[in-house]
Symmetry: C2
Subunit: 141 residues, 2 copies
DNA sequence: CCTATTTAATTGATATATCAATTTTTGATA
DNA sequence: TATCAAAAATTGATATATCAATTAAATAGG
Protein backbone atom coordinates (compact mmCIF):
# COMPACT_ATOMS: atom_id res chain seq x y z
CA UNK A 1 0.00 0.00 0.00
CA UNK A 2 1.72 3.16 -1.20
CA UNK A 3 1.36 6.34 0.80
CA UNK A 4 -0.11 8.03 -2.29
CA UNK A 5 -3.24 5.89 -1.88
CA UNK A 6 -3.79 6.75 1.77
CA UNK A 7 -6.74 9.06 2.07
CA UNK A 8 -5.12 11.01 4.94
CA UNK A 9 -2.20 11.74 2.63
CA UNK A 10 -4.55 13.11 -0.02
CA UNK A 11 -6.36 15.20 2.58
CA UNK A 12 -3.05 16.71 3.67
CA UNK A 13 -2.02 17.29 0.07
CA UNK A 14 -5.29 19.04 -0.75
CA UNK A 15 -4.92 21.26 2.28
CA UNK A 16 -1.41 22.19 1.16
CA UNK A 17 -2.41 22.86 -2.45
CA UNK A 18 -5.22 25.10 -1.28
CA UNK A 19 -3.04 27.10 1.08
CA UNK A 20 -0.31 27.50 -1.54
CA UNK A 21 -2.86 28.70 -4.07
CA UNK A 22 -4.45 31.24 -1.72
CA UNK A 23 -1.12 32.49 -0.40
CA UNK A 24 0.17 33.13 -3.91
CA UNK A 25 -2.99 35.05 -4.78
CA UNK A 26 -2.70 37.03 -1.52
CA UNK A 27 0.90 37.89 -2.39
CA UNK A 28 0.04 38.76 -5.97
CA UNK A 29 -2.62 41.18 -4.74
CA UNK A 30 -0.20 42.70 -2.23
CA UNK A 31 -2.49 41.84 0.68
CA UNK A 32 0.47 41.35 3.06
CA UNK A 33 -1.28 38.73 5.15
CA UNK A 34 -0.80 34.99 5.59
CA UNK A 35 -3.55 32.45 5.08
CA UNK A 36 -3.48 31.52 8.78
CA UNK A 37 -3.84 35.18 9.74
CA UNK A 38 -6.76 35.56 7.35
CA UNK A 39 -8.54 32.51 8.78
CA UNK A 40 -8.11 33.73 12.34
CA UNK A 41 -9.29 37.21 11.39
CA UNK A 42 -12.37 35.75 9.71
CA UNK A 43 -13.18 33.67 12.80
CA UNK A 44 -12.91 36.80 14.95
CA UNK A 45 -15.20 38.62 12.53
CA UNK A 46 -17.79 35.85 12.79
CA UNK A 47 -17.46 35.48 16.58
CA UNK A 48 -16.57 38.83 18.05
CA UNK A 49 -15.33 38.83 21.62
CA UNK A 50 -14.04 35.28 22.05
CA UNK A 51 -11.14 34.61 24.41
CA UNK A 52 -7.83 33.31 23.07
CA UNK A 53 -8.56 29.87 24.48
CA UNK A 54 -11.85 29.79 22.58
CA UNK A 55 -10.16 30.98 19.40
CA UNK A 56 -7.64 28.18 19.79
CA UNK A 57 -10.44 25.60 20.07
CA UNK A 58 -12.37 27.07 17.17
CA UNK A 59 -9.38 27.05 14.84
CA UNK A 60 -7.81 23.83 16.16
CA UNK A 61 -4.61 25.70 16.91
CA UNK A 62 -2.42 25.89 19.98
CA UNK A 63 -3.03 28.83 22.37
CA UNK A 64 0.65 29.74 22.07
CA UNK A 65 0.29 30.01 18.34
CA UNK A 66 -2.83 32.15 18.68
CA UNK A 67 -0.91 34.54 20.95
CA UNK A 68 1.71 35.08 18.28
CA UNK A 69 -0.69 35.47 15.39
CA UNK A 70 -2.80 37.93 17.42
CA UNK A 71 0.35 39.99 18.02
CA UNK A 72 0.79 40.26 14.25
CA UNK A 73 -2.88 41.15 13.67
CA UNK A 74 -2.61 43.75 16.44
CA UNK A 75 0.39 45.34 14.80
CA UNK A 76 -1.71 45.78 11.66
CA UNK A 77 -4.39 47.35 13.87
CA UNK A 78 -6.89 44.71 12.68
CA UNK A 79 -7.86 43.46 16.15
CA UNK A 80 -7.55 44.41 19.82
CA UNK A 81 -7.37 42.54 23.11
CA UNK A 82 -10.11 44.06 25.25
CA UNK A 83 -9.87 43.44 28.99
CA UNK A 84 -12.73 41.47 30.45
CA UNK A 85 -14.47 43.30 33.36
CA UNK A 86 -14.57 40.51 35.92
CA UNK A 87 -11.57 38.47 34.84
CA UNK A 88 -8.10 39.92 34.51
CA UNK A 89 -6.69 36.62 33.26
CA UNK A 90 -8.35 36.57 29.88
CA UNK A 91 -8.97 38.97 27.00
CA UNK A 92 -11.90 39.46 24.71
CA UNK A 93 -10.59 39.56 21.15
CA UNK A 94 -12.40 42.09 18.98
CA UNK A 95 -12.21 43.24 15.40
CA UNK A 96 -11.18 46.86 14.86
CA UNK A 97 -12.42 49.05 12.01
CA UNK A 98 -9.30 48.49 9.91
CA UNK A 99 -9.82 44.73 10.26
CA UNK A 100 -13.45 45.00 9.18
CA UNK A 101 -12.51 47.08 6.16
CA UNK A 102 -9.79 44.62 5.20
CA UNK A 103 -12.19 41.68 5.38
CA UNK A 104 -14.85 43.46 3.37
CA UNK A 105 -12.30 44.40 0.74
CA UNK A 106 -10.90 40.90 0.28
CA UNK A 107 -13.78 38.57 1.07
CA UNK A 108 -14.73 38.38 -2.63
CA UNK A 109 -11.19 37.18 -3.41
CA UNK A 110 -11.36 34.41 -0.82
CA UNK A 111 -14.86 33.48 -1.91
CA UNK A 112 -13.64 33.10 -5.46
CA UNK A 113 -10.96 30.65 -4.26
CA UNK A 114 -13.61 28.65 -2.48
CA UNK A 115 -15.75 28.60 -5.59
CA UNK A 116 -12.81 27.61 -7.78
CA UNK A 117 -11.91 24.75 -5.46
CA UNK A 118 -15.28 23.06 -5.94
CA UNK A 119 -15.69 23.74 -9.65
CA UNK A 120 -17.20 20.73 -11.37
CA UNK A 121 -18.54 19.25 -8.13
CA UNK A 122 -22.27 19.03 -7.56
CA UNK A 123 -23.84 20.38 -4.39
CA UNK A 124 -24.49 16.81 -3.36
CA UNK A 125 -20.85 15.87 -3.82
CA UNK A 126 -19.70 18.82 -1.72
CA UNK A 127 -22.13 17.85 0.98
CA UNK A 128 -20.95 14.23 0.89
CA UNK A 129 -17.35 15.35 1.04
CA UNK A 130 -18.06 17.47 4.11
CA UNK A 131 -19.83 14.61 5.83
CA UNK A 132 -17.04 12.13 5.11
CA UNK A 133 -14.47 14.56 6.45
CA UNK A 134 -16.42 15.12 9.63
CA UNK A 135 -16.77 11.36 10.08
CA UNK A 136 -12.99 10.97 9.82
CA UNK A 137 -12.50 13.75 12.35
CA UNK A 138 -14.83 11.98 14.75
CA UNK A 139 -13.05 8.66 14.22
CA UNK A 140 -9.80 10.24 15.37
CA UNK A 141 -11.15 11.99 18.45
CA UNK B 1 -21.56 31.76 4.78
CA UNK B 2 -19.64 30.78 7.90
CA UNK B 3 -16.09 29.53 7.55
CA UNK B 4 -17.16 26.30 9.30
CA UNK B 5 -19.16 25.37 6.21
CA UNK B 6 -16.32 25.89 3.76
CA UNK B 7 -15.08 22.55 2.55
CA UNK B 8 -11.45 23.76 2.44
CA UNK B 9 -11.75 24.60 6.14
CA UNK B 10 -12.97 21.08 6.91
CA UNK B 11 -10.16 19.59 4.84
CA UNK B 12 -7.62 21.60 6.81
CA UNK B 13 -9.27 20.64 10.09
CA UNK B 14 -9.25 16.94 9.20
CA UNK B 15 -5.58 17.13 8.29
CA UNK B 16 -4.84 18.77 11.64
CA UNK B 17 -6.89 16.27 13.65
CA UNK B 18 -5.12 13.39 11.93
CA UNK B 19 -1.65 14.79 12.55
CA UNK B 20 -2.43 15.56 16.18
CA UNK B 21 -3.73 12.05 16.68
CA UNK B 22 -0.73 10.36 15.10
CA UNK B 23 1.77 12.62 16.84
CA UNK B 24 0.28 11.85 20.24
CA UNK B 25 0.43 8.12 19.52
CA UNK B 26 4.04 8.47 18.30
CA UNK B 27 4.91 10.30 21.52
CA UNK B 28 3.05 7.80 23.68
CA UNK B 29 5.03 4.96 22.09
CA UNK B 30 8.29 6.85 22.56
CA UNK B 31 9.02 6.78 18.83
CA UNK B 32 10.85 10.12 18.97
CA UNK B 33 9.88 11.12 15.46
CA UNK B 34 7.52 13.74 14.03
CA UNK B 35 4.72 12.94 11.62
CA UNK B 36 6.43 14.95 8.87
CA UNK B 37 9.65 13.00 9.39
CA UNK B 38 7.74 9.72 9.25
CA UNK B 39 6.01 10.67 5.99
CA UNK B 40 9.29 11.67 4.37
CA UNK B 41 10.97 8.49 5.59
CA UNK B 42 8.14 6.40 4.15
CA UNK B 43 8.41 8.16 0.80
CA UNK B 44 12.14 7.44 0.74
CA UNK B 45 11.41 3.80 1.59
CA UNK B 46 8.97 3.56 -1.30
CA UNK B 47 11.20 5.47 -3.76
CA UNK B 48 14.80 4.80 -2.88
CA UNK B 49 17.38 7.08 -4.47
CA UNK B 50 15.35 10.16 -5.29
CA UNK B 51 17.01 13.58 -5.26
CA UNK B 52 15.93 16.22 -2.75
CA UNK B 53 14.14 18.15 -5.45
CA UNK B 54 12.14 15.05 -6.35
CA UNK B 55 11.34 14.42 -2.69
CA UNK B 56 10.10 17.99 -2.41
CA UNK B 57 7.78 17.49 -5.39
CA UNK B 58 6.55 14.12 -4.14
CA UNK B 59 5.70 15.46 -0.68
CA UNK B 60 4.54 18.92 -1.79
CA UNK B 61 7.12 20.49 0.48
CA UNK B 62 9.73 23.19 -0.07
CA UNK B 63 13.26 22.00 -0.91
CA UNK B 64 14.57 24.07 2.00
CA UNK B 65 12.29 22.22 4.36
CA UNK B 66 13.38 18.86 2.94
CA UNK B 67 17.01 19.81 3.58
CA UNK B 68 16.30 20.41 7.24
CA UNK B 69 14.20 17.31 7.78
CA UNK B 70 16.82 15.17 6.03
CA UNK B 71 19.42 16.57 8.43
CA UNK B 72 17.31 15.28 11.32
CA UNK B 73 16.75 11.87 9.69
CA UNK B 74 20.50 11.67 9.02
CA UNK B 75 21.29 12.35 12.66
CA UNK B 76 19.12 9.36 13.56
CA UNK B 77 21.11 7.37 10.98
CA UNK B 78 17.86 6.55 9.15
CA UNK B 79 18.93 7.88 5.74
CA UNK B 80 22.03 8.97 3.86
CA UNK B 81 22.84 11.41 1.09
CA UNK B 82 24.71 9.35 -1.51
CA UNK B 83 26.69 11.29 -4.07
CA UNK B 84 25.53 10.86 -7.65
CA UNK B 85 28.33 9.66 -9.99
CA UNK B 86 27.89 12.13 -12.84
CA UNK B 87 26.43 15.08 -10.96
CA UNK B 88 28.08 16.65 -7.97
CA UNK B 89 25.21 19.08 -7.44
CA UNK B 90 22.59 16.61 -6.34
CA UNK B 91 22.34 13.72 -3.90
CA UNK B 92 20.58 10.43 -4.08
CA UNK B 93 18.67 9.97 -0.83
CA UNK B 94 18.73 6.39 0.43
CA UNK B 95 17.31 4.50 3.37
CA UNK B 96 19.86 3.05 5.79
CA UNK B 97 19.36 -0.19 7.74
CA UNK B 98 18.30 1.61 10.92
CA UNK B 99 15.66 3.46 8.90
CA UNK B 100 14.35 0.23 7.39
CA UNK B 101 14.16 -1.42 10.80
CA UNK B 102 12.33 1.60 12.22
CA UNK B 103 9.76 1.55 9.44
CA UNK B 104 9.16 -2.16 9.76
CA UNK B 105 8.73 -1.84 13.49
CA UNK B 106 6.19 0.98 13.37
CA UNK B 107 4.35 0.48 10.07
CA UNK B 108 1.62 -1.52 11.87
CA UNK B 109 1.02 1.43 14.18
CA UNK B 110 0.62 3.86 11.29
CA UNK B 111 -1.54 1.38 9.40
CA UNK B 112 -3.81 1.15 12.39
CA UNK B 113 -4.26 4.94 12.37
CA UNK B 114 -5.16 4.80 8.72
CA UNK B 115 -7.69 2.04 9.38
CA UNK B 116 -9.15 3.92 12.33
CA UNK B 117 -9.56 7.07 10.26
CA UNK B 118 -11.86 5.37 7.75
CA UNK B 119 -13.84 3.24 10.22
CA UNK B 120 -17.49 3.15 9.24
CA UNK B 121 -16.78 4.27 5.67
CA UNK B 122 -17.40 1.87 2.81
CA UNK B 123 -14.74 1.18 0.20
CA UNK B 124 -16.83 3.09 -2.26
CA UNK B 125 -17.02 6.11 0.01
CA UNK B 126 -13.24 6.11 0.51
CA UNK B 127 -12.76 5.92 -3.22
CA UNK B 128 -15.22 8.78 -3.80
CA UNK B 129 -13.49 10.85 -1.16
CA UNK B 130 -10.13 10.33 -2.84
CA UNK B 131 -11.52 11.29 -6.21
CA UNK B 132 -13.18 14.43 -4.90
CA UNK B 133 -9.95 15.49 -3.19
CA UNK B 134 -7.94 14.96 -6.35
CA UNK B 135 -10.49 16.98 -8.31
CA UNK B 136 -10.10 19.87 -5.87
CA UNK B 137 -6.34 19.66 -6.15
CA UNK B 138 -6.62 19.86 -9.92
CA UNK B 139 -8.98 22.82 -9.71
CA UNK B 140 -6.37 24.76 -7.78
CA UNK B 141 -3.40 24.01 -10.01
C1' DC C 1 36.94 27.36 -24.39
C1' DC C 2 34.87 31.05 -21.70
C1' DT C 3 31.34 33.40 -20.04
C1' DA C 4 26.44 33.64 -18.84
C1' DT C 5 22.50 31.28 -17.42
C1' DT C 6 20.36 27.64 -15.08
C1' DT C 7 20.03 24.31 -11.55
C1' DA C 8 20.37 21.60 -6.77
C1' DA C 9 21.12 22.26 -2.38
C1' DT C 10 21.83 25.20 1.52
C1' DT C 11 21.23 29.19 4.59
C1' DG C 12 18.79 33.24 6.56
C1' DA C 13 14.57 35.56 7.86
C1' DT C 14 10.06 35.24 9.43
C1' DA C 15 5.57 32.78 10.44
C1' DT C 16 3.43 28.84 12.35
C1' DA C 17 3.27 24.34 15.14
C1' DT C 18 3.78 21.86 19.50
C1' DC C 19 4.98 21.13 24.26
C1' DA C 20 6.90 22.61 28.60
C1' DA C 21 7.70 26.11 31.81
C1' DT C 22 6.40 30.54 33.68
C1' DT C 23 3.45 34.42 35.22
C1' DT C 24 -0.57 36.25 36.87
C1' DT C 25 -5.03 35.65 38.47
C1' DT C 26 -8.91 32.97 40.03
C1' DG C 27 -11.07 29.54 42.79
C1' DA C 28 -11.28 26.04 46.36
C1' DT C 29 -10.63 24.47 50.90
C1' DA C 30 -8.73 23.82 55.19
C1' DT D 1 -8.18 34.10 55.61
C1' DA D 2 -4.09 31.71 54.02
C1' DT D 3 -2.53 28.49 51.11
C1' DC D 4 -2.76 25.56 47.32
C1' DA D 5 -4.48 24.03 42.96
C1' DA D 6 -6.35 25.26 38.45
C1' DA D 7 -6.63 28.26 34.52
C1' DA D 8 -5.44 31.94 30.70
C1' DA D 9 -1.99 33.92 28.46
C1' DT D 10 2.84 34.30 27.48
C1' DT D 11 7.58 32.82 26.56
C1' DG D 12 11.26 29.50 25.26
C1' DA D 13 12.86 25.61 22.60
C1' DT D 14 12.61 23.07 18.55
C1' DA D 15 10.44 21.53 14.05
C1' DT D 16 8.30 22.90 9.90
C1' DA D 17 6.73 26.37 6.22
C1' DT D 18 7.81 29.78 2.66
C1' DC D 19 10.59 32.90 -0.01
C1' DA D 20 14.89 35.16 -1.09
C1' DA D 21 19.67 34.98 -1.39
C1' DT D 22 23.77 32.28 -1.72
C1' DT D 23 27.01 28.60 -3.23
C1' DA D 24 28.70 25.34 -6.18
C1' DA D 25 28.24 22.86 -10.23
C1' DA D 26 26.33 21.93 -14.90
C1' DT D 27 25.11 23.59 -19.37
C1' DA D 28 24.49 26.73 -23.40
C1' DG D 29 25.92 30.08 -26.68
C1' DG D 30 29.18 32.78 -28.57
Amino acid sequence: MSIENVVLFQIDKTSKVSKLYSQREFDRLGMEITVEQWILLKIIDENDGLTQKELAQQSLRDPASITRTLDLLSRKDFIERKSVPDNRRQYSICLKPAGKIFIEKYLPVVDSHRAKSIEGLSNKEVQQLNQLLIKIQQNLQ
